[in-house]
């Protein structure tokens, strides 16, 4: 009999070493999240997964599960915070969904839908972030980057290539690639890389397939992310190395 903690009043069993997020998802409880991905070391930067543990707010993806914890997640106070965080991410970048080929498969967008975010509010920063279309098969549209570092982690931890990294500090932080020219075409990225599959928004795109699947029939058009995230937990990669959970395109 494994030990448990309480999540919104329900007992959640956990294995030693699991975080609150991991145990919750495995037990069928959804906690909103963005930079968390089951295949990588939890990161804790987006803060969407903030919960209250014994009354104190913490990121559930990095919080080690412990017996007897009282965790609150699905409460309006926390959803209000999450809503503001989603709004901040929209206001920080240039998220123009109508022209984005990731629309409908985008995790940021899906979270906005689920949390009933009607507007980004805030004063939009409209940063200048030129595209990198140098690579014959891959497009980088930095306008949509939310700095979750999933590509950084995938390229470093899984691909062993370190194609991506973050540069700068604070609000000037941005994604860069590993080449003296600063261009993706001068890196050793390949279409089969894990880093190609993990972008939750529309930054890292395979060229010429964008609209194979019509808008309106995409992943989060069907069902809200809160329902789908549970289908995927614990998320697995298939034999060919594709992670169903990460990409709309196979």
């Amino acid at each position: 009999m494994s030990e448990t903690f309480q999540l919104d009043g329900a007992p959640v069993p956990f294995e030693p070493g699991q975080t609150v997020m991991q145990a919750a998802l495995a037990a069928g409880h959804y906690i909103p999240h963005l930079c968390y991905h089951p295949e990588f070391k939890p990161h804790g930067s987006c803060k969407l997964c903030t919960v209250k543990v014994n009354g104190r707010t913490v990121a559930s993806c990095t919080m080690p599960a412990e017996a007897g914890l009282t965790v609150e997640s699905e409460i309006e106070e926390l959803n209000a915070l999450r809503r503001t965080l989603v709004q901040m991410l929209f206001a920080e970048g240039n998220h123009f969904c109508p022209s984005c080929e990731k629309s409908g498969n985008c995790v940021l967008q899906a979270l906005g839908y689920d949390l009933e975010v009607h507007t980004a509010g805030f004063r939009h920063l409209y940063p200048d972030r030129p595209l990198d279309a140098s690579h014959p098969d891959i497009l980088l549209d930095f306008n949509r980057c939310i700095l979750c570092e999933l590509c950084v982690r995938a390229s470093g931890e899984v691909d062993g290539k370190n194609v991506f990294a973050l540069s700068g500090r604070g609000i000037a932080k941005h994604l860069i690639v590993n080449s003296e020219s600063g261009l993706l075409s001068d890196t050793n990225i390949a279409l089969t890389d894990k880093a190609m599959q993990v972008c939750p928004v529309g930054v890292i795109l395979k060229k010429r397939v964008g609209f194979n699947m019509p808008i309106g029939e995409r992943r989060y058009d069907e069902r809200p992310i809160s329902a789908q995230a549970l289908d995927d937990a614990p998320r697995q990669t298939d034999a060919s190395g594709n992670c169903e959970a990460c990409e709309g395109t196979p």
Binding site: S45, L147, S167, G170
Partner: protein, 604 residues
């Protein structure tokens, strides 16, 4: 300074780089130290140097760019032969730093933040350089100049224009006063190097920990964690190595006591670190010195060497076999966040200074994931004193929960700024009287992340029972606009946010925008609501203390000085954040129009 493409083919520079890497044992964890030296040598970090370093250190070049771009004092692009940084703390501003910076910019024909067209000089503001008692201050190529006046700025501009090497500048420019105004058990100590260690050796590790616990010493960096418990946890933690780290990244605006301790009491600091090493079983220690205190590097290294020569560092310290310990000095490079202990450790490992997720804590998983005791400069001094004088005797000083003495860095509107040592429990009013402050409106205790104390609270006492403090004590008299004080602090937090987590990265920028909007006369009650909303997100969801406290200056000044905000509000109606008429200026310029329709009136 040569263009990057010329550097590429310059064999002598490549040899210099290779020797540099060799001097750092080709150790990638020393990347920040390597980059800092590259910056000093070239004036920036040239692209070919990055490629060469990547090759020699066997790390991806993207990691070097990532680290180099994190620290304010490192530049990936040419940034001028002379890089001038004006300390931009509110105390510098109150002493006229903004006008002085403007003056220098005019004299050298450039705009703040930009490099002059001939590549000679750049002038920018920077976060507090720790010279608040003798401001306004600046850094030129990393060296501190204090007590700026119009005349001194003029002289500096002339020296730069003449390309006079820094070593030939008048030496009194670089003089830093200690300004000790009141001393106590720490600053008056008469210990000789080795006195504490000799006593400690007779006790052994376990008893040292017991003694520090008995002394009830708490960390002097601000958080006040019991030092004895920290050392005990570190001592008991399993690991292949144990480390001792001295946090001398004194970045909290308004604090400069560590500067004085490292100048006057360096031996005691190192003695305290060595004592800690004995207690936790460590062979290796680091002093993480903030980049602003670069000028102390050589003197401190000389102290370390003297201690090695006197068998107070190195192998078999004081002849005790098995007691081996040495200290390495790492320099920061302009990042306030590295004062947070886990960010400091990341920086020590040669990475971006991003705070780690905790738990695990540094006492079990610190430097290189090994047990690490990180303590403030003053804490090590106090621990050494407590052990030497006896824990019970030490405990009698100060208050029950805040034992011993505390160095207070006093600056701002007072006759005698400088360092004051008091037993804990001293009231704000006592300090104000002693430093010659009159007509005081408020005191910012413990820096921007601390508390703003209004007149009605001057009876409050410094100590963990009431107002905890790392030591900053900035005084504002009744001529000061407390809104502007808060706005300066908000800019500071936005500049220093590491950018790791969403709330702090975006929230501090939004907060800055809102304060600027109010300052520009466009503020409304909606903006005060927005501040409250941002505060809730920052406090509840930020990754570390920086974000969690970034709203404090605004909340505290709103509480005590709400009219300072309200009288700036344009109206209670909504008002845009930007100047509508101003945003037509470019179109007016392009069309040559200036008719009534080419303007937008403000709405009343």
């Amino acid at each position: 300074m040569l263009p990057d493409n010329e550097l590429r083919f310059d064999a002598s520079r490549q040899i210099w780089l290779d020797q540099l890497v060799a001097r750092h044992q080709t150790d990638a964890s020393r990347l920040l130290q390597i980059l800092r030296e590259v910056q000093e040598y070239f004036g920036h970090i040239p692209q070919p140097a990055i490629s060469r370093l990547a090759e020699k250190l066997s790390i991806p070049r993207v990691r070097i760019e990532s680290v180099g771009s994190f620290y304010s004092f490192l530049h990936l692009k040419p940034h001028g032969e002379y890089r001038v940084l004006f300390s931009d703390n509110i105390t510098d501003r109150m002493l006229g730093s903004e006008a002085l910076m403007q003056q220098m910019c005019q004299q050298l024909w450039l705009q703040p933040g930009k490099v002059s067209e001939d590549g000679l000089v750049s002038i920018s503001p920077t976060s507090c350089t720790g010279m608040c008692d003798q401001g306004p201050a600046l850094l030129v190529n990393g060296r501190a100049i204090t007590r700026l006046t119009h005349q001194r700025v003029q002289e500096i501009a002339q020296l730069i224009r003449n390309r006079t090497p820094l070593n030939n500048w008048p030496s009194d420019f670089f003089h830093v006063d200690d300004n000790i105004r009141r001393s106590g058990l720490l600053l008056d100590n008469t210990l000789a190097p080795g006195d504490v260690l000799r006593k400690a050796l007779s006790l052994g590790g376990q008893k040292i920990v017991e003694a520090v616990k008995t002394s009830a010493l708490r960390g002097r960096g601000g958080a006040g964690f019991p030092t004895g418990l920290k050392w005990e946890a570190c001592r008991n933690a399993q690991g292949s190595e144990h480390y001792v780290v001295c946090n001398a990244d004194e970045g909290e605006p308004g604090t400069f006591k560590d500067r004085v301790l490292l100048t006057r009491q360096a031996d005691l600091v190192f003695e305290g670190m060595t004592l800690c090493a004995l207690a936790v079983g460590s062979k290796k220690g680091f002093l993480y010195l903030r980049g602003e205190y670069r000028y102390m590097l050589e003197p401190l290294q000389a102290v370390l060497q003297r201690r090695r020569d006197n068998n107070l560092l190195g192998a078999k310290i004081l002849g005790q076999s098995g007691f081996d310990f040495d200290i390495d000095i790492h320099l920061g490079a302009g990042a306030y966040i590295c004062g947070e202990e886990s960010a400091l450790i990341e920086s020590l490992e040669g990475k971006r200074g991003v705070p780690r997720s905790r738990p695990p804590f540094p006492v079990t998983h610190g430097y290189m994931q090994q047990p690490t005791a990180v303590d403030n400069v003053e804490t090590f001094c106090q621990a050494a004193l407590a052990l030497h004088m006896g824990a019970e005797k030490y405990r009698a000083i100060g208050t029950e929960k805040s034992t011993g003495s505390k160095l207070i860095s006093v600056s701002g509107d007072c006759a005698y700024p400088g360092i004051y040592e008091y037993p804990f429990g001293v009231s704000v009013r006592e300090i104000l009287q002693e430093c010659g402050a009159v007509n005081t409106r408020a005191v910012q205790v413990s820096g921007p992340s601390g508390v703003c104390v209004g007149e009605s609270e001057f009876g409050r006492k410094l100590g963990f029972e009431d107002i905890p403090t790392a030591g900053a004590f900035m005084v504002f008299d009744d001529s000061r606009d407390m809104f502007e004080v808060a706005r300066n602090y908000v800019h500071f937090f936005a500049h220093e946010s590491c950018g790791f987590c969403t709330p702090c990265r975006v929230g501090t920028s939004m907060l800055k925008q809102t304060m600027d909007k109010i300052a520009a006369g466009h503020g409304t009650k909606y903006d005060l609501n927005e501040i409250e909303n941002l505060d809730s997100v920052l406090q509840n969801t930020s990754h570390c203390g920086l974000g969690r406290t970034a709203c404090n200056p605004v909340l505290h000044t709103l509480k005590h000085f709400r009219p300072a905000y309200e009288n700036k509000l344009k109206s209670l109606m909504f008002s845009p954040a930007f100047d509508l008429d101003g945003s037509l200026a470019r179109a007016r310029q392009m069309t040559g129009r200036d008719d009534a329709g080419a303007h937008l009136k403000e709405e009343i």
